[in-house]
């Protein structure tokens, strides 16, 4: 007993020392080991003490209460699942490209702000959100977030939540697709590998459906082997003067290709493309993340990025805006991600074996995603700052050539030479790494460094393209599943207007809804590719704002659940993160719309383009398009903010009615059934 207490105390001390090292260390580089230690120590303490408090006091998890998986078991979606298996499953469902990209972009402020936000944001915000929604859905037979919002706070909130989800989906898909475009443009190796994933997935689909029905594992092994062959083959293609031009494409071409792919994938039967891709990317994801963790622990690379850079003043080249609120917006997944509320109220609650497992899976699963974000941050921070900015600043800022880029970066106070950049590009098998904004390429370079220093050098190019392939693989999986989900939601909303439109099996309705969803994100994607500021600059903050506003909606639902269950004295566990998220996102939203700096504010950018047109510096047609996009972005941001404020107000009204006893505190939980399981 005493020994255990001493163990936790030692862990707390070790964590505190690691934080002090990170925060106070100046001058020389600091080892990534301190960062990992600080994060893991904090996670373990938070899991042991805070999540236990949530589980026992706030939610009152009861192992004698039968879970939906037990009561409704059908061997298909309601399946009682062992907790460590479900942990892996849930983790694979929530973690994707989000936690890998955000921290890399936020590294423009230095490694410290990102680390603090990732670790404390998850412990007090993100993991609490996932846990409360998983708990709520588990007590309601696996109902979705939208259904819970509707039942607990009224039908209007339900519709608003659904509109919010649909709008977020559009922005999310556009920005993730843009990350892939920036990674693959003018990269024959990357394009060849990614193109290969499509026939491989279709082959797997036929294998599992037609040739060897149901043999999913067998097909997946074949798929993974073929994928690795495609990766190796890509080097040959890139090196061949005859083949390489066929696989070299501009950003715009890739963007149109992805739009076509998204449409086709969402109307094809799921077994043919979507389902096999999903298996493939799950295996790649779990495998690569384990590999990355082992690699970081073996290599323990020194972090060359400073703790804080001068760009906390808002002049950063990767995206505009000051440390507050934009560090918190840029890192959404990994710290707090509203999108998880959809997964935590989807398949996972239908698979819990006992109520207390929700603690490990809801809270612990999110801690694990946060750790992925920490590793991504390490991978970005181990690069020379000059290299990091050469990869991530937009081409319009860097100028077209290596020399101009080096000059610009030197002006920012970081040393880098043209030879260094050229050498790195050829080491990873690319012509140039300049201006590949979006996080994926710099993460891939970082991962290639880690892998080659942990598992032997010489394979740098292969590791780089492996990292690119694995990121693009699950971004494309998000693109096809996301388009499909968007289609279903649009059809459901349209069904309220004209019934036949709501039939998901009616072909014209399916084509129309898929087309509309693809057109939605495709429009933002193409504009992002054409944007002279680099697209990520305006789209990524928009995504962060929307994702965290969805988190606000989820935290509102969570607070309502807690208050209705008669535990209002504990409502601060969701109210505090709700307040934080609202402050950050509403400030960021306001700044994105109204800030006077044209790099930051949509409206002032529109005004500056207008004056450039008047001076004749910008061609009227192109300028007109830019102005239209600025105004569109401003309108979209406004919609996000208004929807969220409405949901918060509707929920607050509910809370006041219950707390003043004008409305009975009654939860809509499924009735208690005692478990039939022993122990």
């Amino acid at each position: 007993m005493l020994l255990k207490k001493l163990g936790w105390l030692a862990l707390a001390v070790a964590g505190a020392v690691a934080w002090a090292m990170l925060a106070l260390h100046r001058g020389e580089t600091v080892s990534a080991g301190w960062l990992v230690l600080a994060a893991v120590g904090t996670y373990l303490l938070a899991y042991r003490f805070y999540s236990r408090f949530l589980a026992t006091r706030v939610f009152g998890l009861n192992d004698r209460r039968a879970t939906p998986a037990e009561r409704l078991m059908n061997g298909r979606d309601f399946v009682p699942t062992t907790r460590w298996v479900l942990f892996g499953h849930h983790f694979a469902a929530i973690a994707g490209a989000g936690p890998l990209v955000g921290p890399v972009l936020a590294a423009q402020f230095g490694y410290l702000p990102g680390t603090i936000w990732i670790v404390f944001g998850v412990v007090l915000g993100g993991a609490v959100q996932d846990f409360v929604i998983l708990f709520g859905s588990m007590r309601r037979d696996g109902k979705s977030l939208g259904q819970m919002a509707k039942e607990e706070t009224g039908p209007i909130t339900g519709v608003l939540a659904m509109v919010a989800v649909l709008a977020i989906m559009v922005i999310l898909l556009a920005v993730l697709a843009l990350v892939v475009v920036n990674a693959l443009k003018d990269s024959p190796w990357g394009i060849f590998t990614i193109l290969c994933t499509m026939p491989i997935a279709i082959l797997m689909g036929f294998w599992m459906k037609v040739w060897r029905p149901g043999r999913t594992l067998e097909a997946s092994i074949v798929g993974v082997v073929l994928l690795l062959l495609a990766l190796v083959g890509g080097r040959y293609v890139a090196g061949s003067p005859i083949l390489a031009p066929y696989f070299t494409a501009s950003g715009l071409t890739i963007a149109y290709g992805m739009i076509a792919y998204g449409f086709i994938a969402s109307v094809l039967p799921v077994w043919m493309l979507l389902c096999p891709r999903d298996y493939l990317s799950t295996f790649m994801k779990i495998g690569t993340i384990l590999l990355l963790a082992v690699g970081i622990l073996i290599a323990l690379p020194p972090l060359k990025l400073p703790a804080l850079t001068r760009f906390i003043d808002g002049t950063g080249p990767v995206f505009a805006g000051k440390l507050f609120p934009f560090a918190f917006i840029t890192i959404a997944c990994g710290a707090i991600s509203g999108f998880h509320a959809l997964v935590a109220s989807g398949t996972t609650p239908k698979m819990l074996t006992r109520e207390s497992d929700a603690r490990l899976i809801g809270y612990g699963g999110m801690l694990m995603e946060s750790f992925v974000a920490v590793m991504a941050l390490c991978a970005a921070a181990l690069l020379d700052p000059g290299v990091y900015f050469a990869i991530n600043a937009p081409l319009s800022t860097l100028g077209g050539s290596l020399e101009s880029a080096v000059g610009v970066i030197r002006n920012w106070g970081f040393t880098v030479t043209p030879e260094q950049l050229q050498g790195l590009a050829s080491a990873v098998g690319e012509k140039s790494l300049l201006g590949r904004t979006g996080g994926a390429p710099s993460l891939a370079v970082g991962m290639a460094h880690i892998f080659s220093s942990a598992f032997g050098s010489g394979l740098m190019a292969l590791w780089y393209h492996f990292a690119i392939m694995f990121e693009a693989l699950f971004i494309l999986t998000t693109v096809d599943t996301g388009t499909r989900v968007g289609r279903f939601m649009l059809q459901e909303l349209a069904g309220h207007v004209w019934r036949p439109l709501g039939r998901t099996s009616w072909y014209p309705s399916t084509m129309l809804a898929s087309g509309l969803v693809v057109a939605g994100w495709g429009y933002f994607l193409v504009q992002g590719v054409l944007d002279p500021l680099g697209g990520i600059n305006s789209l990524w903050p928009l995504f962060g704002i929307s994702n965290q506003l969805l988190a606000a909606v989820a935290l509102c639902v969570g607070t309502t659940l807690i208050i209705k269950s008669g535990r209002a004295r504990y409502a601060w566990v969701t109210l505090l993160p709700l307040l934080g998220v609202l402050t950050v996102t509403l400030t960021a939203g306001w700044q994105k719309i109204f800030a006077a700096d044209p790099r930051l504010g949509f409206l002032s950018h529109a005004a500056s383009v207008a004056s450039q047109i008047a001076e004749g510096a910008v061609d009227a047609a192109r300028g007109g398009r830019l102005i239209f996009n600025d105004r569109l972005d401003a309108v979209v941001t406004t919609i996000f903010m208004v929807v969220t404020v409405l949901v918060v107000l509707a929920s607050a009204r509910e809370w006041v009615l219950i707390l003043t006893r004008r409305k009975p505190a009654r939860v809509e939980e499924s009735p208690f059934v005692e478990t039939a399981y022993a122990g």
């Binding site: 037990e70 009561r71 409704l72 078991m73 059908n74 061997g75 298909r76 399946v79 009682p80 699942t81 062992t82 907790r83 460590w84 298996v85 479900l86 892996g88 499953h89 694979a92 469902a93 929530i94 994707g96 490209a97 989000g98 037979d141 979705s144 999310l172 459906k209 029905p213 149901g214 999913t216 594992l217 997946s220 799921v270 389902c275 999903d278 298996y279 799950t282 295996f283 779990i286 991600s337 999108f339 959809l342 997964v343 989807g346 398949t347 074996t353 999986t477 998000t478 599943t481 996301g482 499909r484 989900v485 279903f488 998901t504 059934v673 478990t675 039939a676 399981y677 022993a678 122990g679």
Partner: protein, 95 residues
């Protein structure tokens, strides 16, 4: 409305162990349990469940135990049914 029957024991009064102790052996020691697979079959089940794949043998077992006498789907029918249920609607993946 879905069936409300308590399917954990398929209606019998006999108390059964939770699935984990069958799959992973020691319930009290999750780490040890995670690494000990009694058979190759349970290892495959482990992988399938993590990846969210259909588990035909487990489904057959469920049918045999809880719905004896009912027609048993072929592996292909079960696969189709499972895929439809899983990817039918709602997001299954995050970003």
């Amino acid at each position: 409305m879905r069936g409300r029957g308590n399917d954990g024991t398929c209606g019998t009064t006999e108390r059964r162990a939770r699935p984990e102790s069958r799959l992973l052996g020691l319930r009290t020691s999750p780490w040890a349990g995670c690494l000990t697979f009694p058979t190759f079959g349970t290892f495959l089940t482990f992988i399938r469940q993590i990846a969210g794949m259909p588990d035909y043998p487990a489904h057959l077992e469920h049918l045999r135990r809880c719905h004896p006498g009912q027609p048993v789907p072929t592996q292909r029918e079960f696969y189709d049914d499972f895929t439809r249920a899983r990817y039918g609607d709602g997001p299954t993946r995050c970003c």
